[in-house]
Amino acid sequence: MEDLSYRHIARQRAGGTRKIAVIGVVASGNLEVLAERNLPDAECLVEIKTAAEGFGEVWNAVIADFVERHSPGGVRFSINDGGARPDTVSLRLAQAARLMQEDDQ
C-alpha cells in the first residue's frame, strides 16, 4: 500500500452546499472517493491510499488537471484505490465534485 497526498490552491470555492459525498467502490480497477467540505475556501486536499505502488507522477497529473478543471475549493477528497486506471480516477473525482455542487437536502 502507498499513501499519497496532494494539496492545491483552488481558484474558487466549490459550488453548492452539500457537506459530504461518496462515490465508487473499492474493487479491482475501481476506487471510492469521499468528498468533505471542511477546508478553507481556497484550499483543496486529495489524499490517496492505493494498492498500486509507484504511480505518484500519474496521480499528480490527474489531480492537477482535476483541480484546474473543477476548482473544488474547500473540499477534502479521500481516495481508497483498488488499482483504478487514470481515466476512472478522473471520472470518479469529477462525479464527486458534481455531487458536492448539489444543494444539501
Binding site: 459530504i20 467502490v25 474493487a27 475501481n30 469521499l34 491510499k49 492505493t50 458534481r98 455542487q101 437536502q105
Partner: protein, 310 residues
C-alpha cells in the same frame, strides 16, 4: 442541469438492482431523501485487519446501515456492497448490522430490510466474520421474537453465499431476483472439495438452476420473485412487510413440517428440472429462459408459499 433538480426529481427505479451499488439501492429503494446513515463513510470506521494483508480498505467497510422511510413507514436498512471484498462479512461490517438488529429488537416496532449481497465470511478476518454472522443470526431471531419483521432482498453480484445464506434463512421472508443466488457452499467450493463430477462450476446453467432465484422461489426458499429492478424489489418489500406472520413456536413447527415435506417429495431428485417437473410444471426445461413476468405468474400458480413457516 442544476443540482437541485437532480435531488428533487422523482427517483428512477427502473434501473437494474444487480448493477446498482449498495448506496444506490438504498437511496432508490426508500422514499426520496429519507435515508439517514449510521456511522457513515466520513467516520472512517474501516476494517483494522486488511492492512495486515496489504489490501485496500473501504470507508464503510462494505456495508451501509441506517434508517429511512418506505412508503411513509420507518424502516431500518442494511445494504452490503457486493463488489467490495465480495460483500464478505468482516468484524466492522458485521458489527454494524448486529447493532442495527439489536436496536430493532429493542424498539420492537420498526421493520428491517436486509439487502444481502455476499460471498460469506471475509477470509482475512475469518474468525471475526464467522462470529459476526453468528451474532447477526442470533440478533435476527431475537428481533423477530420481539415482533420485528426482517425481510431479505437478494439480487446482487455476489449472490448470498456461506453464512449469508444462513442469515437469509433466518429472515421473516425473502424476495429474490433471477441473479440472486442463495446457497451455503459456492459452486467452486463444491467442485474443489468433491470434484467436477459432483458439480461443474463452469456449467453456469447448472449453477443457476441449482442456486438461482427462480429455483429458490419454486422450492419455497424465497417468498417472492422480483424482476431485476429497484421498483421490483420495493414492491416486493412492501408486499412482504404487509403479509409476514408473527414468529413463534408454531412458525418453527410449520417450518419443520415444510422442510420435512420437501425432503420427502424431492429428496431423490437429481436435478432442479426434476423438482420443477415434480411440482407440476409441464415444460420445466423452459423455466430458466422465462421472462420475469411469465415466471412470476407460473410460480404463483404452482407454489403459493406459506408465510408462516419460516
Amino acid at each position: 442541469m442544476s443540482a437541485g433538480q437532480t435531488a428533487k426529481a422523482s427517483p428512477d427505479r427502473t434501473g437494474s438492482w444487480y448493477e446498482a451499488s449498495a448506496r444506490t439501492r438504498v437511496r432508490l429503494l426508500l422514499d426520496p431523501g429519507s435515508f439517514e446513515e449510521f456511522i457513515g463513510p466520513e467516520q472512517r470506521e474501516i476494517s483494522p485487519h486488511l492492512k495486515v494483508f496489504g489490501l485496500p480498505e473501504q470507508f464503510d467497510d462494505g456495508i451501509v446501515v441506517g434508517r429511512g422511510l418506505l412508503d411513509g413507514a420507518p424502516v431500518f436498512v442494511a445494504a452490503q456492497e457486493g463488489r467490495f471484498m465480495g460483500g464478505a462479512f468482516g468484524e466492522v461490517h458485521g458489527a454494524k448490522l448486529t447493532g442495527l438488529l439489536r436496536a430493532a429488537r429493542d424498539l420492537k416496532s420498526i421493520s428491517v430490510l436486509l439487502l444481502l449481497d455476499t460471498g460469506g465470511v471475509r477470509l482475512q478476518e475469518a474468525n471475526a466474520g464467522e462470529l459476526a454472522i453468528a451474532e447477526i443470526m442470533r440478533a435476527v431471531i431475537e428481533a423477530r421474537t420481539a415482533g420485528v419483521k426482517v425481510v431479505g432482498l437478494i439480487g446482487g453480484r455476489s449472490g448470498c453465499y456461506g453464512g449469508g445464506g444462513l442469515i437469509a434463512g433466518c429472515c421473516s421472508a425473502l424476495a429474490v431476483s433471477e441473479q440472486g443466488r442463495i446457497a451455503v457452499s459456492g459452486p467452486e467450493v463444491i467442485e474443489t472439495n468433491r470434484g467436477v463430477e459432483e458439480f461443474d462450476s463452469r456449467d453456469r446453467a447448472l449453477v443457476w438452476r441449482t442456486m438461482g432465484g427462480k429455483h429458490r422461489r419454486l422450492l419455497g426458499g424465497a417468498e417472492l420473485f422480483s424482476d431485476d429492478t429497484v421498483q421490483g424489489f420495493r414492491d416486493a418489500a412492501l408486499d412482504l412487510l404487509g403479509s409476514v406472520a408473527d414468529f413463534g413456536l408454531d412458525t418453527l413447527k410449520a417450518e419443520q413440517a415444510r422442510l420435512e415435506d420437501r425432503l420427502q417429495r424431492f429428496g431423490a431428485c437429481p436435478d432442479a428440472i426434476d423438482i420443477w417437473t415434480a411440482e407440476g410444471i409441464a415444460d420445466a426445461a423452459s423455466v430458466p429462459a422465462l421472462p420475469a413476468d411469465q415466471f412470476i405468474a407460473l410460480a404463483d400458480q404452482v407454489r403459493r408459499t406459506s408465510r408462516d413457516a419460516r
